[in-house]
Amino acid sequence: MSDRREALGPEVKGTRSGPTHRPGQPCTYCHDGSQEQEFSVAGTVYATRDGKQPVQGARVSLKDATGTTFVAETNCAGNFFVRPKTWSPVFPLSTTVTYKDQTLIMESKVHREASCAACHGKVTSRTSAGPIFLWDDVNPPPADLPGGCK
């Protein structure tokens, strides 16, 4: 097991394995095709900067270097993932996240990293831009926002 995989720690107790597990973690550290199925891009979208409330139904639009666009939708954990057989992008990627009329455009391109959380870690620091989030204090999320798995 690689060091970075091991550093993620064990599964949270009571969490079901599958597409809703390990939200906010760098998916492709494990989902690289060696032991787990490969993802070409994967990540998690939250409502606000604190990364507590996932957003279900956010549309993650990814445009690659060839101009091809793929849109993924987040699940109840806020997770999205793309399998290579579905779309195998040529980096760099331009990324936009939308939920209804709320839009977030990523300023920088994604040049090589397939896991959003590798740069958008749960904790904001000098090496991490923090969680991907759609709303802030000035423009708070809607009260009826879905998200969170039952």
Binding site: H111, R112, C119, T124, R126, A129
Partner: protein, 161 residues
């Protein structure tokens, strides 16, 4: 050539009478470096590329890796200290070739930095700054001692003055 930079090599090596604790090389103009850094950072300094602490060519940038532990990507501006460290990282990649390029005895594309950015040498990120692109002209002109400010501003997405 605008300035000389001494590269510290740590403790004095061996018993030679020559002082080997530092080497002085010619470097491009540090004062103009922010123009270059702002031009190449969007394609080079993101957190998933040279905005990582493990890179030999480590770049600090307002939207990428920050120097101050309290600073965050996307907040504030690139600081003087961040430009300083990126500059040092860049000129120290191949110090003797850099010295020769600045003195005009070798061409800019003798530097791996230039070739990798152009994609003419194997580069994980591919051809981020192809030959003749604004960012390429900015970098090469700076290395050659006559910076193309318009190319730098265009690469950085800044409006023409």
């Amino acid at each position: 050539m605008s300035r000389l930079v001494a590269l510290l090599l740590g403790a004095t090596l061996g018993c030679s009478s020559v002082d080997q604790s530092s080497v002085t090389i010619a470097t491009p103009d540090r004062a103009q470096f922010p123009l270059v850094a702002d031009a190449i950072s969007p394609s080079c300094a993101t957190l998933d590329c040279h905005g990582q602490v493990g890179r030999n060519f480590r770049m600090y940038w307002q939207r990428g890796l920050r120097l101050d532990p309290a600073a965050r990507p996307g907040e504030g501006e690139t600081t003087t200290e961040e430009y300083d460290l990126t500059f040092r990282s860049l000129v120290a990649l191949e110090p003797f070739k850099m010295d020769a390029v600045v003195k005009g005895t070798q061409k800019p594309d003798s530097l791996t930095l230039v070739r990798k950015a152009r994609g003419t040498e194997a580069h994980k990120g591919g051809a981020m700054n192809p030959i003749g692109s604004d960012a390429d002209r900015c970098l090469v002109s700076w290395l050659s001692g006559a910076i193309d400010t318009a190319a730098c501003n265009a690469a950085a997405g800044k409006p023409a003055p």
